[in-house]
């Protein structure tokens, strides 16, 4: 009951937020926080819940960004519709990737996702008659003000939360956990591991692409290095690790911390900004690998007197 009340309060706050806050910069920050929460959650579904670490999600982000932008520039299709086309395309793109790589385990999978994303980037970069090549694409049409963007990303993120929640709270959630802990054992128990992985990758790709389309519409300029670069993948990863890998709220909490810090550093020097991603990943993996949300949860529910072995807790979430 208390949880429901809290959720409603949070929802109301989020909805009226832009009416209360008029500072453009703060609105920009909240948009970025929501975007990275969205991206992080999508990555987390595959990485945290299913245990498949992907370094290649930038491929889906970029696909979403380019699809909706090209549809806007060539056919005048509103990016708010075009982004769904992009998301479907990303989903379709994820299928051969899954088929190619899901027989591979652990580090091999991670590396192939990296290779895959690079290949997509090279193709987009060189196919310049379609994509504008290295110089990218500029959006000249007016797509609305900051407030409108805020509500759109809010809607997208809420949708993602609901979908993720449905995935992990259901039977699927158990399947994903099982796959993460020990894929062979899970298969032996009848979990359709490969099929689940493909589904999860597809859902993940879909939402990341939505995020990419949003980003393109917001920034009004994209090029292959901006949207296909590994930096996008790293950003998704860092908010998830900081917030709590394998938890639903983790990426949101992580985004709340990382985004303002990142913007602050960007103001000082465009180089200091990506540095903190690396720093936070290393620090958290060393000292708090389960992330903030998991740790807080443990503290709140720790039974009196019992000392919980850190090791077991962590492996449940990595």
């Amino acid at each position: 009951m208390r949880k429901l009340a809290l959720a409603i309060l949070a929802a109301v706050f989020l909805v009226v937020y832009p009416l209360l806050v008029h500072n453009r910069f703060f609105l920009h920050l909240s948009i970025m926080v929501l975007l990275y929460a969205l991206l992080g959650m999508s990555w987390n579904l595959l990485g945290g819940y299913t245990g498949q670490i992907s370094f290649g999600h930038a491929a889906f982000f970029g696909t979403g960004a380019y699809t909706s932008t090209l549809l806007l520039l060539r056919f005048g299709l509103s990016p708010w519709l075009g982004m769904f086309v992009g998301a479907v395309l990303a989903l379709l793109l994820s299928l051969p990737l899954g088929w190619l790589t899901f027989r591979l385990r652990g580090p091999y999978f991670a590396l192939s996702t990296l290779a895959f994303a690079e290949i997509v980037r090279v193709i987009v970069y060189n196919w310049d008659t379609l994509t504008g090549g290295g110089d990218g694409l500029n959006i000249l049409t007016d797509l609305g003000g900051v407030v409108r963007f805020y509500y759109i990303i809010l809607a997208l993120t809420v949708a993602a939360v609901l979908v993720m929640r449905a995935c992990v709270r259901s039977r699927w959630g158990y399947f994903l956990n099982a796959i993460r802990e020990d894929e062979d054992a899970a298969e032996a128990l009848g979990v359709p591991a490969t099929r689940m992985k493909v589904i999860v990758l597809a859902v993940s790709a879909f939402f990341v692409a939505l995020g990419g389309s949003f980003f393109a519409a917001y920034q009004l300029y994209i090029n292959p290095d901006l949207v296909y670069e590994s930096q996008i993948s790293i950003q998704m990863i860092v908010v998830t690790i900081v917030g709590g890998i394998g938890t639903l709220e983790g990426p949101a909490v992580g985004a709340l911390i990382i985004v303002p810090l990142s913007e602050y550093f960007r103001g000082i020097s465009p180089v200091a900004n990506p540095l903190i991603y690396g720093l936070f990943i290393v620090m958290f993996m060393l000292f708090l690998p389960e992330g903030i949300v998991s740790r807080v949860r443990r503290l709140l529910t720790r039974p009196t007197g019992a000392v919980v072995e850190e090791r077991d807790q962590v492996s449940a979430h990595i």
Binding site: R103, P107, Y108, I119, L275, G278, I281, V282, L286, P289
Partner: protein, 291 residues
């Protein structure tokens, strides 16, 4: 049909390929022993390149001196990274954890390098780097030739170390069968640290060899990381001979392929090879079949 350009292409490929071999060797040792993918390997190479660059620019030291400096420097660095970061994370968070933390480390190091040394592209004076000799119409760049030789020597020395020294044998034993090695009295933790330090040192020295040949800038590590992975997978994870031959083969394939495809897609060649190998022969040319 003129054959000379194709021969030139293969020669270039061989020379550059030997550099790929050295880069990959470090990575393959680390993976073979610990099953750890060091995503920061490229950044270690980048650091080696800067060491050579500053050694020359600030102190006038040549490549030999830079190599001698980087060996102990990177051995220590590797041991420190292993002891301070990798081993701890591996204990608490397993394989995935090391993957993530080394990725974070890579990001950290590359951007720290940019903060300190700026994003400018550096290179050694062109007088040193463009001398070449012509042999029957084939051009051979001096620096590349020297790098090729050095790479061969490094590979041979590493190979001999692994075969004939106790430490080397301990490394190989651990790579073959960790539990059995432990039962035989091998100190796994020490071997891990040694392997990581060795891999790091090879990366750093590869960087020194690369400095006269390629531009030095903070993000250059990323380019080499991908190539290193391709070679490691091609040659077989954990195999030194595989890394050496895989590097040469990859260099030649890349060079010859670029005679036929638009230059923009050159980088994709390696990536496609990588995916194909993972698909059809994940153990590579010489590696074990465990995936």
């Amino acid at each position: 049909m003129k054959i000379i350009p194709y021969i030139q292409s293969m020669v270039n490929g061989l020379l550059v390929g030997s550099l790929y071999s050295v880069i990959a060797m470090g990575l393959t040792i680390i993976f073979g022993v610990m099953r750890v993918i060091n995503m920061a390997h490229g950044e270690l190479i980048m650091l080696g390149m800067y060491v050579a660059f500053w050694a020359f620019t600030l102190f006038g030291l040549g490549q030999m001196a830079a190599l001698l400096i980087s060996l102990p420097l990177f051995l220590v660095l590797g041991a420190a990274i292993y002891g301070g970061v990798v081993s701890r994370v591996e204990r608490r968070a397993g394989e995935m954890g090391t993957l993530l933390v080394t990725a974070g480390l890579a990001y950290l190091v590359a951007n720290a390098a940019q903060l300190v040394w700026k994003a400018d592209f550096r290179s050694l004076p062109s007088a040193l780097t463009t001398r070449s000799v012509f042999l029957k119409g084939i051009s051979l760049n001096y620096s590349l030739l020297w790098a090729f030789l050095a790479a061969v020597i490094l590979t041979a020395v590493t190979y001999l170390f692994l075969i004939y020294t106790d430490a080397g044998r301990a490394i190989r034993a651990t790579a073959q069968d960790r539990e059995a090695a432990a039962l035989m009295g091998v100190q796994i933790h020490r071997v891990n640290m040694l392997a990581f330090a060795l891999g790091t040192a090879l990366a750093g020295m590869a960087g020194v060899l690369l400095t006269p040949v390629f531009y030095v800038y903070p993000y250059v590590g990323r380019v080499f990381l991908v190539k290193a992975f391709v070679v490691v997978v091609l040659g077989g994870m954990g195999s030194i001979v595989g890394a050496w031959l895989g590097g040469l083969l990859f260099g030649v394939v890349e060079s010859v392929a670029s005679m036929f495809i638009p230059s923009g897609y050159r980088d994709a060649v390696g990536l496609v090879v990588f995916l194909l190998v993972l698909l059809f022969k994940p153990s590579g040319l010489f590696g074990r079949s465990r995936v």
